[in-house]
């Protein structure tokens, strides 16, 4: 899977992927987010609306991205999460850390 990056404003980037976020694609996501953060955009939205399946490695990758963003003074937010994936978030208790936003475009608007 390849991830695409959309830049918004000065510091926000939306990262999108399709299909499965798992043990194979998770590390790719981590690499993409690390590069985005290193380039100065430390507020990252992971747009999961096209992600159909996610395993623990995929969730682990999201946590890894959160760590990267936080350590660089920014944040990682997840948005557009499908119902099936919301279930995965709940079962893994990761919903106690990450809040799913509806729209990737407005995730940093609050």
């Amino acid at each position: 899977m390849t991830f695409t990056v959309d830049e918004r404003g000065d510091s926000v980037a939306i990262v999108r992927g399709t299909g499965r976020l798992n043990m194979v694609t998770g590390p790719e996501l981590r690499d993409v987010v690390s590069r985005v953060v290193a380039s100065g955009r430390n507020r990252v939205v992971a747009d999961l609306s096209q992600i159909e399946l996610m395993d623990s490695s995929g969730l682990g990758a999201l946590i890894g991205c959160l760590k990267t963003a936080r350590e660089n003074g920014g944040d990682l937010r997840i948005a557009g999460v499908r119902d099936e994936l919301l279930m995965v978030l709940r079962l893994s208790t990761v919903d106690r850390i990450l809040k799913p936003y509806d729209d990737p475009e407005t995730a940093f608007d609050a």
């Binding site: 946590i63 959160l66 350590e71 990450l98």
Partner: protein, 653 residues
Amino acid sequence: MPDARPHSGRTAGSRLLWVRIVALLTVALGINYVAWRWWASINWTNWWIAVPLVLAETYSLIDVGLFSLTAWRSGTRRNPPPAPPGLTVDVFIATYNEELDLVMATAEAAKRIRYPHETWILDDGARPELAARAEAAQVGYLTRGPEWEGRPRHAKAGNINNALMQTSGEFVLILDADMVPRPEILDRTLGYFDDDRVALVQTPQIFSNVATGDPLGSQAPLFYGPIQEGKDGWNAAFFCGSNAVLRREALMHLGLIGYVRQTEQDVARRLRQATLIVRRTLARTRPGPGRTMLTAALSALREASGALANGEPAAEVTYTLRERVNEAARTVVSADVAAMRGDLIALGLDQEDDGADLDELVERLAQRDLSPLNAMEAVRVTLDAIDVGRTEEAQPLLPLATISVTEDMATSMRLHANGWKSVFHNELLADGLAPEDLGTMLTQRLRWAQGTMQVFLRENPLFVRGMNLAQRLMYFSTMWSYLSGFATVVYLAAPVFFLCFGVLPVRSYAPTFFLHFIPFLAASQLLFLIAARGLPTWRGQQYNLALFPLWIEACLSAAGNVFFRLPLNFAVTPKSRVHSDGLQLSRIRWQIVAAAVLVVAVVVGIIRDEQMHNEIAGSIVNFAWIGYSLISLSVLAGAARYRGYVPEEQRIE
């Protein structure tokens, strides 16, 4: 060879029936004996030895009870289900300081494993020479990245966790550098994962460099046989660190759950600490911009605590808090920043602080009387510590448990507690190399015992949520057995006091004593005999007694580590022999002292019996027991003289 037998069935049969009958009998007779000891035969005049003795006997009864429970379901699995094609597997060879030839021999063997896989050398020693040899052999080579600098490395668990983040196979075969895998190892184990709740398949660790008679007691036929099979019967087979296949999803699941739990705890605790610090600082701050900022920070902290208690996601809570505090800080007039900076550097709180030990930092801050300006900077540092990035760790997710130097047992316990299943597949699928001298062997045993006791004290299986009673008892059983050193001291001391000074811990006529004791002793020996199925267990029994000072040392150092954060003086077991001259007698000095005292006690006992015309029956139990103890201790004489394994063909030359 085609095999018509059903897959993964377990032999029950008549042997298991006998095991159960004898187990019930043993426990019944044991309760009969120990109850009689407590109610009717403690010699209270000599309570100082009588009570420890009956306690030691109670300890042993519980030990036998736990062994009975293990043996109760100790059947052998038959043929494993065939390995389905198309699975992705990573083979990890974990190394730290082992000889390169040894590592490469294992790596070459790993390449020859038949089922398609990728082989990786996990070099915690980061040796360039090994990297070159790995490349030449076309196997993967992984080391720790820069993110580990200045952060806890977590030994072997950290090494494997690091590799898990850089690889992507669905399954992971973990091998120590001294465990040479056979080509069929994956074909024989992957089939069990058809059951998608199975997280672990452990195979035995058997050593090929062991001399006849196993002078160092390297083989553990009872553990990697009836005991693990018995645990397996209760779905509680342990992970033993090597020769095991694990499901990545299960490990990552553990990592996630652990991360969430730890992060929630950390955030809540640091919010409390920060609130305390801000409140204290506020009390000493005169009205002005500083006070305004602190007031704003305090209200932000209170709101954050409230939000967290209301179940708001921790990432949101901490982000909002940071934004609000930054906002407040911007309103503060800048003061003598340079001076402040100097103070902070003196305190060790400058920007460069990598946050490696935040708890300690916060502790220091909370105790210090700081000037208001510096206090405000202290507040900032404290607030920065409230985060979800697990800054103190190199990796946010730690799939393999890091609470113990035996990460394997701790990890499998967490797997079981989270509803995963394990399998013990009893087939020789890797040939190991055992330590070849007494000192190395002792270090290794000490490490296992320490690690087990760390888990016992940190995550006691009796109280961990999610396991059933039998699973709890299977873990508890192994931990309980490591307490035997204390009981052994009592068992060795009691006959000495009796023979030398006539101190009687038991108040009974000899026939009554024998009537209670002999049936229990006979039944438990019979149980052991049937459960062991003719495996050579005598060496293990000898060492179990002979290493009593080591077991005690392990318990004490683990307690010191868990309760007082003292180091374990943990050493990696050297895999190649350290050529040391001399007999390393200093490491078995307590056993030498014990043996000498026992011999003196026998001599004194005989003389006393002669002089006082004592009834011999009272002494005979003591002489017999001392004889058994001396024979057990004598195993160390052979071990200290042992000079390593010499293969057959070399001996002929």
